[in-house]
């Protein structure tokens, strides 16, 4: 195992850096890297190359080719560049290629070379052109910063929500800055630029000169600057071959280094990792690569070929025509285990396991040693962790074997970390395969998350692998398989050479009722590709009407949308479609559509009742619904009209409608109402007081109360108030007036159709026992007992009841016998009862 650390290079006393090969590249590069614009996406992302014909003043007639490769060098796309002069290339966080043109236009491509969209960095740029551009990543997304020909900076912090920010001017800036970078601090993007010996920081509001803390004297120009992956650190390379490394705020210095090379480096990037022991900067010249940190000596590599550096979260990728390597600081666990003569528990466990395989008793000695120190758990953990950081599967295996061996001697070691590492490594090894070409490290993978990794596989159209991973990791369907199938379907709908029927069928066959698949999303994509018919077919598979309807409306299939909305029973959805239809169709067509959809029609009527009364009328008219029209005009007679003439006219319309509806009763009643209204009007004019809108009953009552008996009689006759009701009415009114004389006269006018008990009741209600008694005597035999009880004549009531020999009446009287006064009466009843029983 001694040779294992052969590629470890110490930097200072505490850290080792190592470089290993990821892939040997067999891409067939037609151009030298140095002649190309190059962009490589982080997290093992794709590489884009655009031979830069505009730099060399070659014949511009030859159109350049834009090529996209996987990190392992497999070609993904190749297209002839027909657009304008490109200044800079860069990848967004979604792995979209942004091509920033000199004229400020930015063309966006997918990693298969498919054109996605286009946006502009503003009109200002059209005249001034763009000198330089950077694509940078923030927590919100991907940003673009440009330097214009007028030496102004413009940036957008998030290209998916394009808001251009024009940065403040740098006072007295004549030429282009020697170097610059976009920084991201406190969620805001800034620009740091160097002009000769001066550094300026541009934020939204101001340009401020800044000085790095502890910068060595004698600098006359900054040639290169590098900001770390997380924007926390900054490195500056000066014309004296001096490198300053510190925080991005420039307020703290980490270290400095003098490399004695004055030639401007081709690239300079940070190489560190989370919890780095020794942060370093990698500087590349034509044939030399140097790793410098807080150490007197740097690590140096010779570059055989043109190389390109890609900063990563935990290291730097370096690729060239023939190879793709990874340079990083050796992780702690690996260092502990593999450092020469290490006595760390993990190292001992690895040894013990090897001896065990050799069937040597040394295995036991090593194991005892670890156990005596009580470090077996730690040893297992170290081996698991170190396995994660190994690129080679054989090394991963040997470390995992050691961990598994050690676990056997532990009682309660929770298995999850071991199991999870096995799973993670299996996924990592699968995607690192050069056919896939995503060389993620364990730390990058964890940072990226499995969800994003799956998205990236989907972007590469590696659907089967993505599904295998989901199934292997047993991800819930909604997050895993269904999502991938949905993406597959979205890709499928773009295959224009396949017929709508076939695509729809293929998609349904594969997706079926898979939970979490949104057919409407797929349909929306199909619609986006101009395949409306396909979209409609796909929507048929969508079970959620709430999702179907908006898209159908967007596609102008409103009538279909209407029937879908009705099917769902969701009235809000129906309303939404209706209002849409109302704007879209002319009135006639709209009404016709409603006519065929009774449910929609009744909802729309409700809407009109509250919002558009006139339309409601038209709807009833259309349907010849005369009954409802009648009701409508009745309502209108109250709502709109103040004048009596207007009200009567509205009622007349109502009555006509009722006749048409063959509702004679309602028609007649309405005519009666008109008659009454006119009459009330006249009464108001002639007698004063308020009559309008009183009921007929109350009108007559009011007349009686006002002493207009004649008129009351007349009215009752005119409207044929039945005798019985008229008697009740008069009786009530006269009692209210306490006109006892008139009441008596009335009672004698003819034989009462309602009997005389009501007279008794009403007098008692007015607490006039004297008058009540008068009528009690006239009450017929059936109600006599009731009447007598009402006026409080219990004794006589008892006599009558006894005479009637009526048990119910007897009990009723008995229940009224209270106190001593009625004692005799009660006895009398009891006696009568007893006698009755005897018979």
């Amino acid at each position: 195992m001694d040779c294992y650390t052969a590629n470890w290079n110490p930097l200072g006393d505490s850290a080792f850096y190592r470089k290993y090969e990821l892939y040997s590249m067999d891409w067939d590069l037609k151009e030298e890297l140095r002649d190309c614009l190059v962009a490589a996406a982080p997290y093992g992302g794709p590489i884009a190359l655009l031979r830069n014909p505009w730099r060399k003043e070659k014949a511009a007639s030859v159109r350049p080719v834009l090529e996209i490769y996987s990190a392992s060098g497999l070609p993904l796309a190749s297209l002839l560049w027909k657009s304008g002069t490109v200044v800079s290339l860069g990848w967004s966080a979604e792995e979209e290629l942004l091509c920033v043109q000199e004229d400020g236009g930015v063309l966006v491509y997918g990693l298969h070379g498919d054109f996605r969209r286009h946006f502009s960095m503003g009109n200002e740029v059209l005249q001034n052109r763009i000198l330089d551009a950077r694509i940078f990543h923030t927590e919100f997304g991907s940003g673009v910063a440009i330097l214009t020909g007028a030496h102004r900076f413009i940036l957008s912090a998030n290209v998916s929500d394009l808001k251009l920010r024009r940065m403040p001017e740098v006072p007295g800036l004549q030429g282009a800055p020697t170097c610059w970078t976009a920084l991201c601090q406190d969620r805001v993007a800034h620009i740091l630029l160097a002009v000769g010996p001066d550094l300026y920081l541009l934020d939204q509001s101001a340009c401020s000169a800044v000085t790095p803390f502890g910068l060595a004297p004698g600098v006359s120009s900054f040639l290169q600057m590098a900001v770390s992956f997380t924007y926390r650190h900054l490195a500056l390379f000066t014309d004296t071959g001096y490198i300053w490394m510190g925080t991005a705020s420039l307020k703290e210095k980490l270290c400095e280094f003098n490399c004695n090379i004055r030639a401007p480096p081709k690239q300079m990037v940070w190489c560190s990792r989370p919890r780095s022991k020794e942060r370093a900067v990698v500087v590349a010249w034509e044939r030399r690569l140097m790793v410098v940190g807080d150490a007197p000596e740097s690590i140096q590599f010779v570059l055989d070929e043109d190389s390109y550096l890609v900063p990563e979260l935990d290291g730097v990728r370096i690729f060239s025509r023939s190879t793709h390597e990874f340079l990083h600081e050796v992780p702690v666990a690996s260092e502990e285990i593999f450092k020469i003569a290490s006595m760390a528990p993990g190292a001992l466990l690895l040894e013990a396991q090897k001896e065990y395989e050799k069937e040597s008793q040394k295995a036991d000695e090593y194991l005892r040693e670890i156990q005596e120190l009580g470090q077996l758990t730690q040893a297992v953990q170290q081996c698991i962790e170190a396995a994660g950081h190994e690129h080679r599967p054989d090394m991963q295996k040997s470390l995992l074997r050691a961990a598994s061996f050690g676990k056997c001697f532990l009682d309660r070691f929770p298995p999850d970390s071991f199991v999870r590492m096995c799973q993670d490594l299996r996924v990592l090894n699968a995607i690192r395969d050069y056919h896939i070409g995503i060389p993620l490290t364990y730390s990058q993978y964890k940072q990226l998350t499995i969800q994003v990794l799956l998205d990236r596989l989907v972007l590469r159209r590696l659907y089967p692998l993505a599904i295998q991973i989901c199934e292997y990791l047993r991800l819930p369907e909604v997050q895993g398989v269904s999502r991938i199938l949905a993406h597959w379907a979205c890709y499928k709908v773009q295959q224009k050479d396949v017929s709508d029927e076939d695509v729809a069928r293929a998609i349904n066959q594969k997706l079926g009722d898979t939970p979490g698949v949104s057919y409407s999303d797929i349909a929306a994509r199909a619609y986006g590709c101009g395949r409306t018919e396909l979209a409609i077919k796909l929507l048929e598979y969508e079970p959620r009407s709430g999702e179907q309807v908006p898209l159908l409306l967007k596609m102008k299939r409103s009538k279909l949308a209407l029937s879908k909305a009705i099917e769902s029973g969701d009235t809000d959805l129906v309303f939404t479609v209706l209002l849409h239809l109302k704007n879209e169709l002319n009135r006639g067509d709209f009404f016709m559509t409603l006519r065929n959809q009774p449910m929609a029609l009744s909802l729309y009527r409700q809407f009109c009742k509250h919002q558009e009364l006139e339309t409601l009328k038209d709807l009833y008219n259309q349907d010849d619904n005369h009954q409802e029209l009648g009701s409508f005009h009745i309502r209108a007679s109250y709502a709109a009209e103040e004048r009596i003439e207007g009200r009567v006219a509205a009622l007349q319309t109502a009555a006509d409608a009722f006749y048409k509806a063959k509702n004679e009763f309602a028609a007649k009643a309405t005519e009666d109402q008109m008659r009454l209204l006119r009459l009330q009007r006249r009464l108001e004019d002639e007698l004063g007081g308020r009559f309008l809108d009183l009921s007929l009953h109350d009108t007559v009552t009011t007349l009686i109360l006002g002493g207009h008996n004649k008129r009351a009689e007349q009215l009752a006759r005119d409207f044929r108030i039945p005798d019985k009701r008229l008697w009740w009415l008069k009786l009530t009114a006269l009692a209210d007036l306490e006109d006892w004389e008139e009441l008596e006269k009335f009672s004698k006018s003819k034989k009462s159709p309602i009997g005389y008990l009501p007279f008794v009741e009403i007098c008692m209600k007015q607490h006039n026992k004297y008058e009540a008694k008068k009528y009690a005597s006239r009450v017929g035999p059936e109600q006599k007992v009731k009447a007598l009880l009402l006026v409080g004549d219990v004794a006589q009531a008892a006599d009558v009841a006894i005479e009637h020999r009526n048990e119910a009446e007897l009990s009723l009287v008995l229940s009224h016998c209270t106190g001593a006064t009625d004692g005799a009466t009660a006895d009398k009843i009891q006696r009568a009862r007893a006698q009755a029983q005897k018979k």
């Binding site: 009527r605 309502r635 009643a669 009701r725």
Partner: protein
Amino acid sequence: MAAHLSYGRVNLNVLREAVRRELREFLDKCAGSKAIVWDEYLTGPFGLIAQYSLLKEHEVEKMFTLKGSRLPAADVKNIIFFVRPRLELMDIIAENVLSEDKRGPARDFHILFVPRRSLLCEQRLKDLGVLGSFIHREEYSLDLIPFDGDLLSMESEGAFKECYLESDQTSLYHAAKGLMTLQALYGTIPQIFGKGECARQVANMMIRMKREFTGSQNSIFPVFDNLLLLDRNVDLLTPLATQLTYEGLIDEIYGIQNTSEDFFDKLTVEQEFMSGIDTDKVNSYIEDCIAQKHPLIKVLRLVCLQSVCNSGLKQKVLDYYKKEILQTYGYEHILTLYNLEKAGLLKPQTGGRNNYPTIRKTLRLWMDDVNEQNPTDISYVYSGYAPLSVRLAQLLSRPGWRSIEEVLRILPGPHFEERQPLPTGLQKKRQPGENRVTLIFFLGGVTFAEIAALRFLSQLEDGGTEYVIATTKLMNGASWIESLMEKPF
């Protein structure tokens, strides 16, 4: 915890806690101090699930009633509107927001739609130019509110009117959604029975909604064995009669003045009608009530009762009542009378055939020997009349509706049965002697007397079925008739 909700066979506290949780989660989304602006209609239902203390714990400092023009001043960070999705309310909200914008320090506005978000309303807010002012626009699916250990209500006042007069099935959609929520908490209900047009629609919506949720398999062991959906218009009779249980009486008499004698006369008439005596001619008690201008609702209730007990009135009788009512109470009531006709409560007899006696006899709706002290039959709740709706439920559980096919055909709307298959692991193996649990949903309202009758059935030792009752609204005859009345001025 609300202890009264957990004593029953089904712990309705689970539902209450679920809706409370949802409310808390929403409130916490709007960080900082808050004022709630209430759609007044919602304060009642909300009071049953969240007291002020809960709101206060989540930094609700002020509460206002939704009104036009400006909001009262409040020094809070968030203003949240709790509203039903109604266009007229959106107009008021817009007015509030616009006048608040002029007032100064920016507030965060939010809307909580109860029980459902509405595209229509959001479009209106957009048209009024205020949609963008709202940070959170969410829905709060408060469909069924637990009232008691066995009682849920949507408290939707207008449900009956909307369904039967206006063919607006919004409340049915909410009912179906509410049932989906219940199933999410208490498991899929394996059997659905129903009678009536609305019942059919709700069942259809439920089946459809279930398809929409194919993703999330319900793995909860079902608490309910079956669901019975009943249209109110299958039994228009029961709510018209005066309820004679304790709770029912309180409900009936509260706020109504009646002399005891008159009350007795009224009961006598009701009982005569229900037992089929003299339902085909003008009733002199009703005549007298009109002549004395007794409350219109009382009169309408009696006339409707007579109409229902006679499968409609003879045209002459009907016209006479109508004329008497119009002359006495005013012609404007022609609209109300028409509404009652549309709802089938008051109608001319068609085909000259009175079906009520057949229904009464087959379903044994009238019981002459009622023991009110130790009841043996549900008819005690109306002193002789057994509520038709409850009888249907009772017969469904034993011996099954097949025995009353003929009557079911006479009653309006289709009757049906649907099965919702369960995965084998969730199928119930009933213990001997274990009662079934039936969720009975009254679409269009339920009375306390019906609830009492169902509770009586639940308590029967050999009943075999326990009931949980759900409804669009707890009601009585008076509130029901009132909801159908139209006052044009």
